[in-house]
Symmetry: C2
Subunit: 272 residues, 2 copies
């Protein structure tokens, strides 16, 4: 297919979103983004489990894995690597915040071209800025990839300099949480730390996988409340998401690191 | 018109929302809700000014007042009182949080039937519950009626008992902020206080109007950080929004007040 994006809405190709959809009105829904290779979604069991868990956290019944998988196979082609985004909203609603007693969730599957990342991001690493927009504390929504993402939009809009590929977001106490579209790890000696997301942030699938496999690199992995200074004075910093896998961070604001091996070792382990 | 809802999208009657609209993807937009009587939006200059201000706060260029007014006059009928909701989103976007350098905002105008409120809400007052879902502190978005409203959805879903018509939301420090779809005032002697919204909450048009006219009732009006206990021990509590105007609060959780005159006096002054 030549179009930049194609999509299915509730399985249909001709549908569009109603202006009464609560996903639009209130950001009342969740989403996932992942690679699809030869019609197969990468890390599907973990992605689907997180989708179910995020839906459940806000009281939406997630469509079945079989239904979503059938639609992925309908929309994507063999011999193609592309990006899938699944959005599940609470569905149509009358005016007012109260969720309707009976709702039919809206499911949206969007196919996009795989971004073309510069080879240098993988070989040499990347630079990050620090965001002024804080991540608010909201324990009831922390960790969930929901559709209320204005903080990420404002934080990402702070820096237009293309030499900085993402920004580090901190909470209102100044603790490091994440990047606008990535999770973050810092290695200090033989310890690999990633920020505690119990008050704010999005807990990504690649973050979870790195926590699970770090021991293969003889690193202990731990979730921790992290000050920016602890990250800046760390031995190595990497960021991760489900599209590019893992990139080595060579610079955050004025702090510079030499080239390191952690990102490439993690990519190798993750086979990304 | 007999349909429950009718709408215009970018001025067109046949359009629908693209699944790539950033209003859906990220809640990247703002909205207003107000009454329209005989094709005339009530308090239009203040509503429009707030729409411009909220758009500006997140970097969206608001459509002109003339364009929006022309569309209101197209969608609404003479001899009709109905509800208008205007949604302005940042428009279509590629994948990724960074706002496109050039965007065409999406404007949505929805007409709904005027809710039929029980007469007792005006005559006798209403009861409120207290929400467990806190309002997060986010100074960059405080006061703005943006599309990231999951907190309100969760807070409103906490109580299904129809005898409680709304819930009082507090911030993570326990300070009273607002109701899920109303602002709140407490009278203590000759002082009328409404919560400080510099860290969280939505600053409504009716709240602003009450702050401006309270002196006609020989009340000093003031924005103040308010503990729940200060509200519960106040002489009178009222809530307000642009649809019902002002209602007297007779009960919050276990605290009960006798019937009072403040809401009816304010309604009279506001001519709502």
């Amino acid at each position: 297919m030549n179009r930049q994006h194609t999509y299915l809405i509730n399985g249909g190709v001709d549908d569009a979103i109603s202006p009464l959809d609560r996903g639009l009105s209130y950001g009342d829904g969740v989403f996932r983004t992942f690679k699809v290779v030869d019609c197969l979604p990468v890390n599907w069991p973990i992605q689907y489990q997180k989708l179910v868990s995020d839906c459940g956290a806000i009281g939406i019944v997630c469509p079945s894995a079989e239904l979503l998988m059938a639609e992925i196979q309908m929309l994507f082609d063999l011999d193609e690597t592309a990006v899938a985004k699944i959005i599940i909203t609470r569905g149509l609603g009358e005016r007012g915040y109260a969720p309707p007693a009976v709702t039919a969730p809206t499911r949206i599957l969007i196919k996009s071209q795989m971004p073309v990342y510069p080879a240098s991001h993988f070989q040499d690493g990347v630079a990050l800025y620090t965001c002024r927009t804080p991540v608010a504390h909201q324990p009831m929504l922390a960790g969930i990839k929901h559709l209320n993402r204005l903080e990420n939009v404002l934080a990402r809009a702070e820096c237009r300099d293309p030499s900085f590929i993402d920004g580090v977001m901190m909470d209102i106490d100044g603790h490091v949480i994440e990047c606008t579209s990535a999770n973050l790890f810092v290695r200090i000696g033989s310890h690999l730390y990633t920020p505690d997301l119990s008050k704010a942030g999005v807990a990504g699938v690649t973050r979870q996988r790195i926590l699970d496999i770090a021991h293969y690199l003889h690193l202990s992995s731990e979730i921790k409340v992290l000050e920016l200074q602890e990250v800046l004075s760390g031995d190595e910093v990497v960021i991760c998401n489900s599209l590019y896998g893992v990139w080595q961070v060579r610079r955050i604001a004025e702090q510079v690191w030499p080239i390191g091996k952690l990102a490439s070792e993690l990519r190798e382990l993750l086979r990304l």
